[in-house]
Amino acid sequence: MTGFNVELTITAAFYGLLCIALLYRVIKGPHAVDRVIAGDSIDSMTVVIMALFGALSNRAVYFDMALIVSLLGFISTVVISRYLEGRS
């Protein structure tokens, strides 16, 4: 369309590759805390891929998804940390 498709696609693919690299920490985390950290990073990378895909398809409606995940993604992390604090 405007010639930007190549950059957007390559960046999104690069971020997807980094997500898979982060899964190494999910597989082999010695403690649950490591898995939580990796999951949190995966959440923020997911937001980035969603924004890139919305810009690539030129639809503003795809950005609502990224809004929700970026706003509410921290709840699960805080709840798990609350559980870990109470367990000790």
């Binding site: 960046t11 950290i37 990073s41 937001v47 980035v48 919305g54 950005f63």
Partner: protein, 115 residues
């Protein structure tokens, strides 16, 4: 037009580089707290660089106000919500006694709050 393209590509490159650095840090670092430090690297400049690029792309290339403003709002949300999660998980890790590499011999939290 060509200047705009160079700026947006530079923003994408910056974001990709810092995200790569953060992921390599998460994989390589020896203990949980240092992994947390590297993961903030991903969430701040790794995400904000791409979102700034997307916002410029929406404003000036696609001529769509909604895409630009929503990208900025997503960046603000990440800035507000990410440190809360990071702080909570760091405190929980220290409270439940996750191993900490103590190379400098300076652990004033463990000194003040013995288990």
């Amino acid at each position: 037009m060509i200047l705009l393209r160079i700026i947006i590509d530079a923003l994408f490159l910056i974001g990709g580089f810092f995200a790569l650095a953060g992921v390599v840090g998460v994989i390589r670092m020896p203990d949980s707290y240092c992994r947390m430090q590297a993961s903030t690297n991903t969430a701040t400049l790794g995400a904000l660089g791409i979102l700034a690029g997307t916002s410029l792309y929406g404003f000036f290339v696609l001529n769509s106000l909604a895409i630009g403003v929503k990208s900025i709002v997503i960046g603000l949300f990440i800035l507000f919500s990410n440190p809360v999660a990071s702080h909570a998980i760091a405190r929980a890790a220290k409270r439940c006694g996750v191993y900490m590499l103590n190379k400098s011999g300076c652990d004033q939290y463990g000194r003040d709050n013995p288990q």
